[in-house]
């Protein structure tokens, strides 16, 4: 694998000219970001902050007004740069007259796959996204979650090294959403690079190695997730089966140190998502009961 | 933005390049009579109709068929002004279709004219005027059709018919029949021309008629009407007996009535 960054955006500025008067709107201003191979990078920000525009520039769908974008060292403006990218747009639509399998076949062929190799990849992707049962159905009858999974399947059909996901869980029910989260985690295990945007910050927190926060077209904060969210002067500890006596001892011990204090204590809660999954999905093996401290 | 400017420049450049090509191809196809001319373009009489015909494109023929059928229905109902209007539209749409001109003229000069001649609801004086008016309209239609199809035997033949059978003017009738035959029409136009010339008052016409009928006779077409005509002309022109055809020719079995009307 080359040493080049998976994604390298430098000083990107993108201006849209709107309406008859061609009034300028700066969607992205002097933005730089770097995604290392094997990393899961989360790009977050409010609506209209320039996330999607940045992604489109990276994918070569838009041309930057200033600055450059590269994928594994190759300029985004070149078609070749897209050989190793899989893209899942927000709320993807496909040709609704094609079946799920035909859709994958179509995208596979566009990527240069042929014959038995393509058929194997189709099958593999259908299995991966759990669409095997719906493979012969027309896409017009797919639910939002199924469309999203089909979107993922087409993004991965040609075994890309970089996967770009735009709001992958938007409008998807918790089960589907969790499945997509698990898939992203599995990409990380396999060494794929992932660039993802999402509004579900909790999920982003679960999967991302690094995040960039955008606002009004600028990058306002960027870095490894753990560093960004750590509260440096606080420490948390979760105890199991602690007796009231033990807790009293801990309090006394803390009180002995000047300047240290207990900010809060109580019973940790599970998330609503987990609760939902535990009660709606029969096979909850995947949903472990690890509690999260509030 | 660069691309948009380039696109406009390309379109202009390409457009200037294609203009002479279009004129050349258009001229070539017009010459081969593969494109329909705009009937009223020269007349400049009705831009609406021209534009309508233009917009129809290749569907002109189909629309002409529809207006033709409407004209036919109007004919069945006896609405003559409507028949004329619809046939005019039909011929405008397809000026090269001689069948339309032929039929339009026939409707006016024969059907409409006869209708008014026998129309009990119209005063006698007006009847005669309308009769003549519609016959003249038929001739007018054919003359216009002949502008687009100057060598059409069918239209010349139809013109001959109107002069012969409606106007009773043998000379223009004979002239039209002869033109029809000369332009590749059926041989019987020659005979029809001869019969018309036979009815003319002048000797010069009789000579011409005699030549025509004699040629027909010598070609083996010894129809009774040819023989009768020849006998009549031999008498009028005082042809020496040794040059006359036999009095009781051993005629070939032929129909008593030749195809007088096409």
């Amino acid at each position: 694998m080359s040493e080049a960054a998976a994604v390298e955006v430098e000083n990107l500025t993108k201006v849209f000219r709107l309406g008859v008067m061609r009034s300028a709107f700066v969607a992205v201003r002097d933005l730089s970001l770097r995604v290392q191979p094997g990393e899961v990078y989360g790009l977050i920000g409010p609506n209209g902050s320039g996330k999607s525009t940045t992604m489109k520039v990276i994918l070569g769908l838009l041309e930057p007004d200033q600055g450059t974008s590269r994928i594994f060292g190759s300029s985004s403006l070149r078609v070749e740069s897209r050989r190793e990218v899989g893209f899942l747009p927000e709320n993807p639509y496909f040709y609704k007259h094609l079946t799920g399998r035909e859709t994958l076949h179509f995208y596979g062929r566009l990527c240069g796959l042929r014959g038995s190799e393509l058929r194997e990849r189709e099958q593999e992707m259908l299995a991966l996204t759990r669409l095997e049962d719906a493979a012969e159905r027309r896409v017009a009858g797919y639910s939002k979650g199924m469309l999203q999974r089909l979107g993922l399947a087409q993004a991965l059909i040609h075994q890309p090294r970089l996967v770009v996901l735009d709001e992958p869980t938007a409008g998807v029910d918790p089960e589907g959403s969790r499945m997509i989260r698990d898939l992203i985690l599995s990409f990380k295990e396999r060494g794929l690079t992932v660039l993802v945007t999402s509004h579900l910050l909790e999920q982003m927190q679960e999967v991302c190695d690094r995040v960039g926060i955008m606002a009004r077209g600028r990058m306002v904060k960027e870095g490894p997730l753990e560093e960004l969210i750590a509260v440096e002067n606080q420490t948390e500890m979760v105890l199991e089966n602690a007796t009231p006596e033990l807790l009293a001892e801990v309090r006394v011990a803390v009180a002995r140190h000047a300047g240290a204090s207990i900010v809060r204590s109580g019973h940790p809660r599970t998330t609503l998502e987990r609760l939902f999954l535990e009660n709606t999905v029969e096979n909850t093996a995947a949903a472990s009961s690890e509690p999260h401290e509030e | 933005m660069r691309g948009k400017k380039l696109a406009v420049l390309l379109l202009l450049g390409f457009g200037l390049l294609k203009l002479p090509m279009e004129r050349a191809v258009s001229a070539r196809l017009n010459q081969a009579e593969l494109l329909s001319p705009f009937a009223s373009l020269e007349l400049r009489e009705n831009l609406d109709q021209t534009a309508f015909a233009a917009v129809l494109g290749g569907l002109r023929s189909l629309v002409a068929s529809v207006t033709y059928m409407r004209a036919y229905i109007a004919f069945e109902d006896g609405f003559w002004a409507e028949v004329d209007r619809l046939y005019a539209l039909t011929t405008r749409l397809q000026p090269r279709n001689v069948a339309y001109w032929d039929e339009a003229a026939w409707q006016m000069a024969f059907n409409a004219a006869s209708h008014y001649l026998h129309d009990k609801g119209t005063r006698e004086y007006t009847r005669g005027a309308l009769y003549q008016q519609y016959i003249d309209r038929g001739i007018e239609i054919l003359r216009e059709g002949l502008r687009y199809n100057p060598d059409s035997p069918r239209l010349w033949g139809a013109l001959g018919d109107i002069y012969a059978r409606r106007k009773r003017e043998p000379l223009p009738a004979a002239e039209a029949y002869l033109k029809a035959e000369a332009d590749g029409g059926p041989a019987y136009y020659q005979r029809l021309a001869a019969y018309q010339l036979l009815q003319a008052p002048d000797r010069e016409s009789w000579v011409k008629a005699y030549e025509l009928l004699r040629a027909t006779y010598d070609a083996g077409k010894k129809f009774p009407s040819v023989i009768d005509g020849l006998h009549e002309l031999e008498r009028r022109l005082k042809i020496p007996p040794d040059q006359r055809i036999p009095e009781k020719a051993s005629e070939k079995k032929a129909p008593s009535v030749g195809p007088m009307a096409p």
């Binding site: 190793e84 566009l110 979107g151 | 081969a32 494109g57 189909l62």
Partner: protein, 302 residues
């Protein structure tokens, strides 16, 4: 996860194969939109129209049948050229399907050509089927008319040469090779209109806009000869109208060049030279408009 470690993808798949893939998807999509059913219904209606009306002469009877059938061919090809193109490309943008396609290693020119060929292929295949069916109908009708005319003339005792002449006249307006040449001209016209629709949809953002503008352009394209006439035979003064007319004459194709069908129906025969002229003109238009479409589309912001 049964996947092996990801490996860099070799550069595979040529332009042609991608273009054909896109064309194939376009054809599938259009076929499944019940285009053929629509086609069949129109066909049956038109033929019923062609057969169903009483007309005065055998010639007119044949003409009506041919008018109806060629009318079907033209309407089918033009509606498909405009509607299919307008439905496909702007909808890909609206539905963002284009994102998933162009984020694959697919050059935009491949996408454009793929869509174009898909529509053209379907129009071509449809026209071939219609041409075969309708030729059969015309032949059937023509034979019936020939027999009827001959029987009638013989009963009237018309001479042999005149019978032959009359029959030749019916045959002239019957089934001829030139009819297929006319079908080819209809196809070429549809190919030009499709290229135009593609050009318009490369900068338009909605299906409706593309359809309406393409139809408008077609109407003006039909009147190109009138526009040229106005430009070159009028006075030489420069007026606003003249400038507009010049721009129209430059930008739009002369679609009337392909309207040979009228005269073919009337019995005119098409020479190889005429065929070559029309084909050359169509080729020039298609290449010209597709190049411009690609220039616009290549920098379209998605």
């Amino acid at each position: 996860m049964k996947n092996k470690a990801p490996a860099p993808q070799p550069a595979r798949g040529g332009h042609l194969s991608r273009i054909l893939t896109l064309a194939g998807a376009t054809v599938t999509q259009l076929l499944r939109m019940r285009i053929l059913v629509f086609l069949l219904v129109v066909c049956v209606l038109m033929v019923a129209f062609g057969f169903g009306f009483p007309v005065s002469s055998p010639e007119q009877k044949l003409k009506l049948l041919k008018d109806a059938t060629f009318g079907t061919l033209q309407i089918f090809s033009l509606v498909l050229a405009v509607a299919a193109t307008a439905l496909l490309l702007p909808r890909d943008v609206e539905d963002r399907t284009l994102y998933t396609i162009l984020s694959k290693p697919v050059p935009r020119v491949d996408y454009l050509l793929g869509k174009y060929l898909g529509v053209i292929f379907l129009i071509g295949a449809g026209l071939i089927i219609l041409d075969v069916v309708l030729s059969g109908l015309v032949y059937f009708q023509q034979q019936a008319l020939l027999q009827g005319t001959e029987a009638m003339l013989r009963s009237e005792g018309a001479p042999e040469d005149e019978i032959l002449q009359q029959l030749a006249q019916v045959q002239r307006v019957g089934l001829t090779w030139s009819m297929h040449a006319a079908t080819w001209a209809i196809f070429l016209k549809a190919a030009v209109v499709t290229a135009l629709a593609l050009l318009i949809s490369s900068f338009a953002s909605s299906t409706l806009f593309t359809m309406v503008s393409t139809f408008l352009v077609c109407v003006l394209g039909q009147g190109q000869e009138l526009i040229r006439e106005y430009l070159f035979h009028g006075s030489f003064s420069v007026t606003m109208e003249k400038v507009v007319a010049l721009l129209l004459a430059i930008a739009l194709p002369d679609l009337r060049l392909f309207d040979i069908v009228d005269n073919v129906i009337a019995g005119q025969s098409v020479t190889w030279g005429a065929m070559a002229s029309i084909t050359g003109a169509a080729l020039l238009y298609v290449v010209g408009y597709l190049v411009v479409a690609q220039v616009v589309f290549s920098e379209k912001e998605l």
